[in-house]
Amino acid sequence: MDEAEFCRLWHLFQEVIDGNKEYLNSLDAAIGDADHGTNMARGMEKAVAACDQPEGGLRVTAKAIAMAMLSTVGGASGALWGSGLLKFAAAIPEAVACSDREFAGAVDAFVSSIRDRGKANLGDKTMVDVFLPARDRLIAGVEAGEALPAIAEVLAEATAAWALETKDLIALKGRAAYLGERSRGHVDPGAFSSSLWFLSLSRALAERSG
C-alpha cells in the first residue's frame, strides 16, 4: 500500500462516516447517547486534514491521523481509535509504501491495542466483533498470497455482515452494557462504523491496477 492509497482510504472513510452520521447517531440513540456519528464525523474531518500534507511517509501520516482522532472524537471511540492508530503508526514502515504483510501487521497492532485498552472479547457487542475476525481474515489472506484489493473486497462484505450480527448480542462492554437484555435487538454503532472502515479500504484499493 502506498501513501496515496492510504490517504484515499481515510478520505473515503471520512465521506462514508459523514454520509452515515445520522444513521450512526440513531443506532447509538437506541443503546447509548446518540452521538457516535457526530463524534466520529468531527474527528474524521480533522483526520483527513493530516493526509493533505505532502509526502510525510506512512508512519508520520498515520500518527497525525491518530493524534487528530485522539484529540477530537472523544468518548470511548476516540480513545480506542486514537490510541489504536498510534500503535498502527508504530508498526507501519516510515517509507511512503509498505508491503501487504506490513499493512496486515499494522492492522494487527491496532486490533491488539483496542483489545488491551477496551478489554472487550469477541461477542461483547463492540467494534472488536468486526475488527478481530477481520484481522484474522486479513492475515490469513496475506499469508495465502491473496492480493490485498481482493481481501479488502471480501472484508467489506464480511464486516458489514459481522456488524449486523451484533444486533442479536447482549452488550457486555461499553455504555450499552448498562442496558443488559435491552441492548439486544440493536446493531452496535461502533461495530457498524468499524465495518465502514473496511468498506473504505476496499474502495480505496479498487482503483489499484493489477
Binding site: 447517531n25 440513540a29 443503546i31 447509548g32 447517547d33 446518540a34 452521538d35 457526530t38 463524534n39 468531527r42 485522539l70 484529540s71 477530537t72 472524537v73 472523544g74 468518548g75 470511548a76 471511540s77 476516540g78 480513545a79 480506542l80 486514537g82 490510541s83 485498552r117 477496551g118 457486555l172 462492554k173 461499553g174 455504555r175 452494557a177 448498562y178 442496558l179 443488559g180 435491552r182
Partner: protein, 336 residues
C-alpha cells in the same frame, strides 16, 4: 428541538466562557482548552484534584472548582468524554508539585481517556493517581462487564478528596480517602422525562404520559426498566431499598444523603423526595447526618432525580461538612 443555544458546535465553548464571566473570583479558563481551573491556585506542594467528563451534567464539574474541592475540571462535548490532551491540560493546571488525583466516573470513555492522559502526564514527570467512582447500584457489578457507573456520588468524592488535599495530605492519603468514600457510597436514579442531546436533536428515548425509566445513568441513556409513574413516596422507597441493601445499612448507621435533580425537576418536588427520605431513614433507624438537596449532577433537561447515600464515621462526616467555596457548593462560611 428547542434549546437556548447559538450553534451545536459552540455550546460547550460558550458555556465555559459564561461560567468564567459569572464566577471570575473562582474560575479561569486554561487558554485554548476546555479546562476550568482555580482563579487562585492552592499552595505549592499540595495535591491537586482533577475531575471532568462529558458536558451536560452542570454544575458538574466546573461548578466544583474552588477551595476545598477541585483544582481543575475538564469538559468534553455533551455526554462525551473529554480527550486525553484536554485532560492532560487539566492535570498540568492542577499540578502544584504534590501530585494530582484524577477523579473519574466509571464510564468506558472517561476511564480510557483519563488513562491515556495519565500515561502522558507520567511521561512528563507529573505524579498522578486515579480513583474511579462506581456508585450506581441500578446496574449489577460483574467481572464480565464494565462494572457499575459513576453518578452523583462523585460529588462526595470531590468533597472528601478536596478537603484532604487542603489539609496537606499526600497523594496516597488523598486517594485512600477518596477510595473510602467510593467503598461507602451508593446511588440510583430515575427519569420522568428524557433529555435531548443538542447534536442529536431529538430525545434519547420516548415515554408515554404515564411511563418513566428506572435506573438511568447520567447520559440520557435509558434505564434498566420502564414502569408506570408512582408517587414520590414509592419512588423514593424504590431507590432507598436498593441503596440500603447495597450498603448493608443497619439501624444506627450514620449516613449523609444527596437528593439530586436531573435537570428539569423542580426543587419543590426534590424537597418532597427529601422528606420521604427522612421518613424512610427514621423508620430504619439510620442517623441522617446531613442532606444535600438540589442539582449537583444533572443530565441536561431530563426530569427525574437520584438518591445517594454515603456511610460516614466521625472523620468522614467532618470532611464532608468542612468548608468549601466553589460556584456550586459553598459551606462552612461564617460571618460576624
Amino acid at each position: 428541538m428547542k434549546k437556548l443555544i447559538n450553534s451545536i458546535d459552540h455550546v460547550v465553548d460558550e458555556a465555559l466562557d459564561g461560567m468564567v464571566l459569572a464566577f471570575p473570583q473562582y474560575l479561569v479558563r486554561v487558554p485554548d482548552t476546555h479546562v476550568l481551573a482555580r482563579a487562585v491556585p492552592k499552595a505549592q506542594g499540595k495535591v491537586g484534584i482533577v475531575s471532568g467528563g462529558g458536558s451536560g451534567h452542570e454544575p458538574a464539574h466546573g461548578g466544583y472548582v474552588g477551595y476545598g474541592m477541585l483544582d481543575a475540571a475538564v469538559a468534553g462535548e455533551v455526554f462525551t468524554s473529554p480527550t486525553p490532551d484536554q485532560v492532560l491540560a487539566g492535570i498540568k493546571a492542577a499540578d502544584h508539585g504534590g501530585g494530582v488525583l484524577l477523579v473519574v466516573k466509571n464510564y468506558t470513555g472517561d476511564v480510557m481517556n483519563f488513562d491515556i492522559a495519565r500515561e502522558m502526564a507520567e511521561a512528563e514527570g507529573i505524579q498522578t493517581g486515579t480513583v474511579t467512582v462506581n456508585d450506581d447500584v441500578a446496574v449489577e457489578d460483574s467481572l464480565y462487564t464494565s462494572g457499575r457507573r459513576g453518578i452523583a456520588g462523585t460529588v462526595f468524592v470531590h468533597k472528601v478528596a478536596g478537603a484532604l488535599a487542603e489539609l496537606g495530605a499526600s497523594l496516597e492519603e488523598v486517594a485512600a480517602g477518596a477510595n473510602a468514600v467510593i467503598a461507602n457510597v451508593a446511588s440510583m436514579g430515575f427519569a420522568l422525562e428524557p433529555c435531548t442531546v443538542p447534536a442529536a436533536g431529538k430525545p434519547t428515548f420516548e415515554l408515554a404520559g404515564d411511563e418513566m425509566e428506572m435506573g438511568i445513568g447520567i447520559h440520557g441513556e435509558p434505564g434498566t426498566h420502564r414502569m408506570k409513574v408512582e408517587a414520590a413516596s414509592e419512588l423514593t422507597r424504590h431507590l432507598f431499598v436498593k441503596i440500603a441493601a447495597d450498603l448493608e445499612l443497619v439501624a444506627g448507621t450514620r449516613v449523609v444523603a444527596m437528593v439530586n435533580g436531573m435537570g428539569a425537576t423542580p426543587l419543590l418536588e426534590l424537597a418532597v423526595m427529601a422528606n420521604e427520605l427522612g421518613r424512610l431513614a427514621a423508620a430504619e433507624g439510620l442517623a441522617l447526618e446531613q442532606v444535600f438537596l438540589g442539582e449537583f449532577m444533572t443530565s441536561l433537561e431530563m426530569a427525574g432525580a437520584s438518591l445517594t447515600l454515603l456511610r460516614v464515621d466521625e472523620r468522614r462526616l467532618e470532611l464532608i461538612g468542612s468548608s468549601c467555596d466553589t460556584p456550586a457548593l459553598r459551606q462552612g462560611v461564617k460571618f460576624g
